[in-house]
């Protein structure tokens, strides 16, 4: 990967942190639930860059988000990186893409990320998260994540594209990625 996609991804991490701590934390909640921007973007980046880079990006963006949470530092980093790895592996096994790949990946990634976050946080001593309300939050957030994936996938495609090369399209008209 050249310096330009790295720079774009770094700027995306900063943008996600700012959006998550301002706009989405305050007003853009639906029924009290906000999406996990970092997780959706991890899913999209892992889709284009594969498991290793997906996991690495998930780790970095998760760590950036963790700094602003009261849960132990590293919980989001670990859950996002596992989701990034998983999405990269699943993407490698996809026979064909369709326009539904983004929302489906967004929803499943959001679901897996939410479950992993709660499980890892509970193991780290935050057992108050093991509650029925967490199930509702995870389900609603994953639906929200699915909607946001429509925007996150084109952004990730643009960010991960090397200069002069076309990235793989998530809607089916595939070109070369990485």
């Amino acid at each position: 990967m050249t310096w330009l996609p790295r720079l774009r991804l770094a700027l995306l991490i900063l943008a996600v942190v700012v959006l998550q701590t301002t706009l989405f934390s305050a007003g853009l909640r639906v029924f009290g639930v906000m999406p996990d921007l970092g997780l959706v973007l991890t899913v999209a980046v892992a889709f284009y860059l594969g498991p290793e880079r997906g996991a690495a990006f998930g780790f970095l963006i998760g760590l950036a988000v963790d700094v602003f949470l009261s849960t132990p530092l590293g919980v989001s980093a670990l859950s996002f990186s596992l989701v990034g790895y998983g999405v990269g592996v699943v993407q490698g096994g996809l026979v064909r893409s369709s326009r539904w790949v983004a929302p489906v990946m967004g929803a499943l990634g959001g679901l897996a990320g939410g479950v992993l976050f709660v499980a890892i946080a509970a193991l780290a001593g935050q057992d108050q998260l093991l509650a029925l309300s967490s199930v509702r939050v995870i389900l609603m957030a994953s639906l929200y994540d699915a909607l946001l994936a429509f925007a996150a996938f084109p952004i990730a495609r643009w960010a991960t594209r090397a200069p002069g090369r076309e990235a793989q399209s998530w809607s089916g008209s595939a070109a070369v990625g990485r």
């Binding site: 290793e52 950036a64 980093a77 108050q128």
Partner: protein, 276 residues
């Protein structure tokens, strides 16, 4: 065509990431100083950008919030009108009660509440996660805000300061499941511990004596016991439900907080007097 690296390299990278994350979690859980400093530093870097962004885009968020909660706002409006009528009638009685309260505080010697040095602060952000109930306030270390200081509004207890950076502080709301506050129930003075229930609009009071006479509508105050960050007599809420089953070791008491956490704009951080 997507070409992947050998599977063992993939696993090595994943193992390294997992190991690093687990190390960070362990260090943070054990209370590592550098991690707290990292958090504070990151807040100081991002806060100015976030502040500028928030100023520009907060009307968009407010509009969407208004649209998604229109139905509940209508009900709330009607409820508030009814409350206003009732409040007018109670105003005169309240004036007399306030004077009586002041006299009683003097009598009980509660200097902390009387003389608390309060720092007014604006709520600038909500929690950046679905799994925690915190707010960011626009005052930090430079303004004298410190960890564990109680945070209140005119209505009652909001929570306590969880973390502080140079210009901002994170407040853990009493509704967060991590929060636990030593309380006393108004009439019987029964002690208990009020725990947050996250999404729910009530708090649960644990360890309430099963033989104590607790009734709906009673006010619940902070008990201000030794080592508690909260001074005594800060109102928290009113008892909304009491369930007592024969043979139980405690009563099931739910409390509706007096503070409206969905519309927190300004709060006060109580600074303890020197020597406390």
């Amino acid at each position: 065509m997507v070409v992947y690296q050998p599977a063992n390299r993939r696993r090595t990278i994943l193992a390294l990431i997992v190991l690093t994350a687990v190390t960070l979690i362990t260090l943070d859980v054990r209370g590592s100083g550098p991690i707290s400093a990292l958090r504070g530093g990151a807040h100081d870097v991002v806060n100015p950008i976030a502040g500028a962004f928030d100023t520009v885009f907060s009307p968009v968020g407010d509009w969407i919030d208004g649209v998604t909660s229109a139905a509940s706002l209508k009900d709330e409006n009607a409820q508030l009108r009814r409350r206003l009528d009732a409040a007018r009638g109670q105003e005169a009685a309240a004036r007399a009660a306030t004077q009586e309260n002041k006299d009683l505080k003097k009598l009980l010697d509660l200097p902390f509440v009387e003389n608390a040095d309060a720092i007014a602060a604006q709520v600038v952000e909500g929690a950046p996660s679905n799994f925690e109930f915190t707010v960011q306030i626009g005052k930090g270390e430079t303004d004298g805000v410190g960890v564990d200081m109680p945070v209140v509004t005119g209505a009652g207890l909001v929570g306590r300061v969880l973390a502080v950076s140079r210009d901002r502080a994170t407040v853990l709301l009493v509704k967060d499941p991590q929060s636990g506050v030593g309380v006393r129930i108004e009439k019987s003075s029964t002690p208990g511990v009020a725990k947050g229930r996250g999404d729910s609009d009530t708090l649960r009071v644990d360890f309430v004596d099963p033989n104590a006479d607790v009734t709906k509508g009673e006010v619940v105050y902070t008990s201000g016991q030794q080592n508690s960050p909260f001074p005594a007599a800060i109102p928290i809420g009113t008892v909304s439900k009491v369930t007592k089953a024969p043979g139980d070791l405690q009563q099931d008491v739910l409390v509706k907080p007096l503070v409206d956490f969905s519309h927190l704009d300004y709060v006060k951080v109580l600074r303890p007097p020197p020597g406390r």
